[in-house]
Subunit: 404 residues, 2 copies
Amino acid sequence: MKVGLITIGNELLSGFTTDTNAAWIGQRIGEVGGVVIWHLTTQDSREDIIRSIESTPEDVQVLIITGGLGPTHDDITATSLYHWAQTETEFDEDYWKELEEKFKNRNVTIPEINKNQALKPIDGEMIQNPVGSARGIRINKNGLDIIALPGVPAEMKAMMTLSVIPLLDENIHNPIHNQTLRTTGIMESALAEKLEPILRETKVKLAFLPKLTGVDIRISSADTNEISELRDAIFHAVGKYIFGEGDILLEEAIGKLLIKKNLTIGVAESCTGGLISDRFTNVSGSSVYFHGGIIAYQNKVKITELNVKKETLETFGAVSEETAIEMAKGIQSRLQVNLGLSSTGIAGPGGGTDEKPVGLLFIALAHAKGVMTKKFNLTKKRIINKELASQAALNMIRIHLTRD
Amino acid sequence: MKVGLITIGNELLSGFTTDTNAAWIGQRIGEVGGVVIWHLTTQDSREDIIRSIESTPEDVQVLIITGGLGPTHDDITATSLYHWAQTETEFDEDYWKELEEKFKNRNVTIPEINKNQALKPIDGEMIQNPVGSARGIRINKNGLDIIALPGVPAEMKAMMTLSVIPLLDENIHNPIHNQTLRTTGIMESALAEKLEPILRETKVKLAFLPKLTGVDIRISSADTNEISELRDAIFHAVGKYIFGEGDILLEEAIGKLLIKKNLTIGVAESCTGGLISDRFTNVSGSSVYFHGGIIAYQNKVKITELNVKKETLETFGAVSEETAIEMAKGIQSRLQVNLGLSSTGIAGPGGGTDEKPVGLLFIALAHAKGVMTKKFNLTKKRIINKELASQAALNMIRIHLTRD
């Protein structure tokens, strides 16, 4: 099934909002074997919305539209769609009563401007919204199945899951399957070169998806046996860089390893400023192995809370292998955990010197048999450095745990 | 100046990658007074790329294309563009030598597959890439100014900043100006109702941009006086919810307040798991006021590292106002800082009870004159709860500091 997507809103085009809905919709459609082949973002004027619907490629069977169904003056998707489909509307008294009740339960008086959300088309259906007040619309016109949903992610997602996906699932034949292998610690071109002999032999579609912290390899085919064979060949060639499959995150992969080996961990962070702990605790159930962390942003905190020696800081500096080692050992003994992980570096943009430039990073992992350390030279950008440093630190745990 | 944007890649349509480039480009274009009016995402086949270029609306003057300029087999933007524009290519020996040199300096042998990146069109220009090996392409055809850039964000951004923006800046007349007021702690419909009298009176364009953690209000006009008047009226009506203007983040606004008042802060996190500290330390220069944090994910860490009383945990539980208060006071005294901020809650999806359901949150702020606390009932979703909790906690600091 070929799906088209139109996302509506000047705020998307102007970049005031990043469109995360499109990726989410693409994934869900892919999971039921469909494929989004075209995605247009347009301004929120009636003229632009209608022009966009009309420019939908002919091979699109289902057109999903998101955004512009809210209560305010700039929400004009519904009226534009009704105009294009030439359908009249009527006021839905039942739904209005339902809305009034909903707001009453929350001790809020319903604003009058919500009234336009109770309109419904005569030639179409409404799609229930279990989260908010804006219902979805489904209209079939000129052989195109059009589904309009609100742009608020929580509402759109609930409605896709409850109503739209089950609807599409029935209409899909001969689905394409995907398998993703997630790597970290190797560049795209090096990965491509290592896989070149495999790529030359296979007819199966393979894509490299480089991200800041790693490269995903995606295998696509209608034949699951072909996928499985190619997957094994790739594992054979570059398996040591693969931390997981599907949409697993590195922090989830590490969580599984820690649970399997029955190990606990604590984190001592300087330059990453809480990001490593944040990533650990994004994983549901992480409290089993993640006991806690100390963010020692100032040197005095490194001394009082992590037992880093004053002399170490004076002799080698806060950003040094020696300090990283003492931080890792410090958190390991303070929290009485099996593994102590630390980061110290110069995130930037200021604070660099010739000897210790912005981007310099030391990470250390204290384990039962000693301490593993690594030095990196990252970029000049603060947020990117935090992200890369947290990835390198997490990957160090993976390397340690898979090496044993 | 009206700009069109085509982003290329099956990984964007399938949702394996979230398109963050589009928002970034929209913002940069807006800053120099241009406007992105159309954005299409297409599959990476030659046919689709050419069809997309041909479907560009007639009022688009500059068309930016991103993605598919890398070295691997699925990077076909350049050849598609040359095919569409009917231009031949030649091998750029100088650039190839430059590339070889670059790789040599990094102690990496240049893969042969990078050779296609040294091709250049006869009827067009190349755009330098200061970060990676894929250069950009500029071709003018049928009155449309086409600029193709790599999709890797760091490379695209560097090239936009260095080459493309300066080029566009010269071509812009009668720019539209934007002013954004950022609110938190109030719903979109409540905000719209409070501003309804102002909205009714003005002809200036005003948009509400709801996000998970707040609503942005954007004023747009070619007349900066009109913007300034409307801005003042909005401040008069809902100023207490506005934490800043432009693209300032809540953590940046708080940083400015803390510096102004010469105060230091430490954070004790349970359910937010490091996210509050991460947000503080995303701000360059935050080490002046942010001294550190303790992530007490397990109860024993709350006792040993934050001096929370065992009896408090036993009597009231880890998720309670009493524990939040002791955590806030604990971090305040441990790190010897002016303000101690704490969070404790049930992030979910598991761990909820009838009495203490998933989404329950307590935050506390210990300051010079006492402790401020607040209770929330958030959602059932872990990552959303962490985000909302960190926002509520940061907003508590803002409310405290602006109330004084």
